[in-house]
Symmetry: none
Subunit: 212 residues, 4 copies
DNA sequence: ATCTAAACGAGACGGTACGTCACGTCTTTTG
DNA sequence: CAAAAGACGTGACGTACCGTCTCGTTTAGAT
C-alpha cells in the first residue's frame, strides 16, 4: 500500500499530464489511426523513452487517455448514480440518458471510438481494456438492474446482462455507423421498449418465456 | 446490365479471388492490426501494385473480405429471411438467432471485429463501410419490424431503429469485450425482453409513452 | 539491298519518328535520369510493346535519338570535312570549331551528356555505343591527323590517338563539369597548343622524345 | 575548429564506414546502374533511414564513395605533388602519369565512371559534384601550370585551363569508350605533344598565336 | 555539500510497411 | 498480324513509425 521510495530522480507528474493532454488532442484531431507515439511525444515536448517508460504501448496510452477524459469531464457518468433514494428504473434512466447524450459530444464520441478501435484491432489488448475500462461500468448497470428485480420493478426471469449489452451496444453501434447525434432520442425510445419488456408479468399479459 | 469492355488486358478474376482468400487468412491468423498490404500481397503471390489497382486501401480490402466471407459462408444470414409465410416475430427471431450464433464462430467473429476496427479507426472510412456493408442489413431489420407493426404484432409507437441498434449492438459489444460464445443464449433472452416490450398495449397494461 | 516483304501489317514509319521525337523532348526536358520508357511511350501516344519492338532498351533508344538529333541538325558536323582542298591543319581546325561550338548549344549538349551517361552507367552498353556512335568520328579525326603527318604538316612521331582523345575529351570534360559555353574559346586555345606541339621538329628546336 | 556537440545520440562512425565500404563493393560488382540504396543498405547491414540520414541521394553517396576510395588508396594522387624542388614540368608529368595509370586499375576506373555517370545523368547534381570532388584537383593542375609559366618553363600566352581540360578529358574519354588500359602509354605521348606545344617561343620557331 | 541513480530531451539505430513509379513481359480487343 | 491499352510480378523509391539504444544534462533524495 505504501509507495516505495526508489532512489534517483522521481518521475515528474507534470510530464504525465502533458502526455495525456497531448494524446487526447491528437486523438481528437487525427483519430485513433492517426495517433502515433512519435506524434504524441513531439506534441508533449517529451522524448520517446519517457513515453514508453510510462505506457508500454499505444493501446495502454489510449486506454488511460479515455479513462481520464471520461472521468474528468463527466464525473457522474460511467456508472449508475448513487442517487440512493431513486428506484432502479429511475437510476437506469438517468444513467442511460447521460451516457447517450455523451455520445452526442464529439469529444466523448472520439474516446469511445478510440477504445473500440483498440479493442477490435487486437483481441489480446481487448481483454485488458475490458477489465480496466468497461467492466466496472457494465457491472454497475447489471447491479442496478438486479436491485430493480429485487425491488419488484423488473421481471425476475429477465437476462440482465443481455439488457446491459443492448443498452451499451446500441450506443456503440450508432457511433460506429452514423454519428452519436441521434443517440439521446434513440435512448428514450429504447428505454421505453426495454422497460416495458422488463415489467413484471401480470395474469392478463403473460411474458414470453425464455427457452433455456 | 451489360459489362463494358474496356480496352487492354482485362483483370484476372482468379487474382481477385487469390487476394481475398489471402487477406481472409491473414485476418484470421493475425487480426486486423496484423494485416498489412505487404503481407497480403505476398501471401496471394501478387505484386503490391496489383493489389492497389483493385483496392485503394486496407479498409476497402477488409470491407470486401468481410462481405465475401459473410455471404459465401452463410448465404441466408445478413438479412431477415424471405420465408414469406412467417410472421414478423418469427422472421426476426430466425434472423437474430442466426446472427448471434455466427458471432460464436471465430471465423465470423473475426470478420465483424475487423469491420469494427476499420470503422472505429477512421470515421471517414466508417461512412462508406456503413453504406456498403452494414446498412442493407440494418434496413432489412427495420423493414421486418415495420411489417410487424403493420400486421399488428408490434406496437405502432415503438422506435424501430432503436430496436435494430440494440439487436446488432448487443452482439457487437459482446464480441468486443468478451467472446461471442455466449451470444446465442443472450440472444434468446434479449429477444424475450424486446418482443415483450414491443407487444401492443392493451387497456389494462398501458405502455410507457416516449417523451418526444 | 532488297527490302524483304514480311507478311502481316508493316510497321508504321511515322511511329518511329513520333517515338524519336518524344524521346528527344523528354531528354531535353528531364535529362537522361528522367527518361523512362513509360514516359516516352505515353508522350509518343504509343504502347510500351510497340516501343520495345523497335528498341530493346533505354540505352538503344537514347543512342538512336542522339544519332538522329546530331545528324539532322548539323549535317556537316561529326567528322572532319570533305573540303578536299584544305590541308589537314585546316580540316582539323574547322571540325573542332564546329564540334566545340555545338557543345555550346544546350540541345546538343544534352545529347552528348545522354550518351555519356549511358556509357558510364554500364560498361557493357558502352562498348556498343562506342562502336556505333563515337568510333566513326574518332577514326575520321585520326585519319585527318595521319594525312597531316603524310603531308608533313605534323610530326611523324606523334601519338595521333592521344591527340584525338584530348580533343574530344576536352569538350566532354567541360560539359560534365561546367557548361559547354566556354568550349568554343577553349577550343581555339587548345588547338593553338596542340598544333604547336605537333609541328615538325627543326634542328634548333628538338621535340621531346616519347619514352616507348 | 571545435566539433559542436549536438544533443541526442551521436552517429556511429563505424556505420558510415560500413556503408561506404558496402557501396564501394556494390559499385565495383554491379556498376553505377546496379547500385540501389536498398542494395547498399542490405549489404551494409543497415536500415534505409540510416542511409538517407547521412546521404540524401544516390548521387551524394556515390560522390563520397569515390572521394574516399581515391584518397584512401592513392593518397598522393589527385593533385600535383608537393615535391617542392621539382619544376612544373616534372610535377605535371609525375601527376599525370599517376592519374593515367590509376585509370588502368579497374577499381579506380569504376570510381571515375561512377562519378561521370552521376554527373552526366543530372546536370543539377553535376554542379555540386564538380564543386566538391573535381574542382580542387582541376585547380591544382592549373596552379601547377601557372607556376610553370612564372618560372619560364611554359609559354605565357597559353590557355592553361584548356590544357587541364585536355589532360583530364583525355583519360575520361578513354575510359568511357574503351578501357583505361592504354592510358599510361597514351599519357606519355600526350604529354610529349602538349609540353612541346607549351614550350616558350624562340625567334626561329614562333608559336601560332591564338585568335582571341 | 557532495554523491548517486534515475528521469529527461534528443535523436541514432535496425526494422517493417507504406503507397508510388518504372521495369519488361503478357494478354486482350481493335483495325 | 501489328498496334493500343493495360494487367502483371518484380523491385526500388523515399517516408513514417516502430520500440530500443545511447548520449549528455538535470534533479531530487541519501550520505
Amino acid at each position: 500500500m505504501d509507495e516505495v521510495r526508489r532512489p534517483g530522480r522521481p518521475r515528474d507528474a507534470a510530464t504525465d499530464r502533458a502526455i495525456l493532454r497531448a494524446a487526447r488532442d491528437v486523438l481528437l484531431r487525427d483519430g485513433y489511426a492517426g495517433l502515433s507515439m512519435e506524434k504524441v511525444a513531439a506534441a508533449a515536448g517529451v522524448g520517446k523513452p519517457t513515453l514508453y517508460r510510462r505506457w508500454s504501448s499505444r493501446v495502454a496510452l489510449v486506454g488511460d487517455v479515455v479513462w481520464h477524459s471520461f472521468h474528468a469531464a463527466v464525473p457522474g457518468i460511467g456508472r449508475p448514480g448513487p442517487q440512493a433514494g431513486d428506484g432502479a428504473t429511475q437510476q437506469l434512466t438517468t444513467w442511460f440518458r447521460a451516457y447517450a447524450s455523451s455520445a452526442g459530444d464529439p469529444r466523448h464520441a472520439a474516446m469511445i471510438l478510440a477504445l473500440t478501435a483498440a479493442a477490435a484491432e487486437s483481441p489480446h489488448d481487448a481483454e485488458s481494456l475490458y477489465r480496466h475500462h468497461t467492466r466496472p461500468q457494465y457491472e454497475a448497470i447489471v447491479d442496478c438492474l438486479r436491485s430493480g428485480v429485487e425491488s419488484g420493478e423488473f421481471r425476475a426471469d429477465a437476462d440482465l446482462e443481455a439488457v446491459a449489452d443492448a443498452l451499451i451496444g446500441s450506443v456503440l453501434y450508432q457511433l460506429l455507423t452514423r454519428t452519436g447525434d441521434a443517440a439521446p432520442q434513440r435512448a428514450e425510445h429504447l428505454l421505453d421498449v426495454l422497460l416495458a419488456g422488463l415489467r413484471p408479468v401480470t395474469r392478463d399479459q403473460p411474458g414470453r418465456a425464455p427457452r433455456d
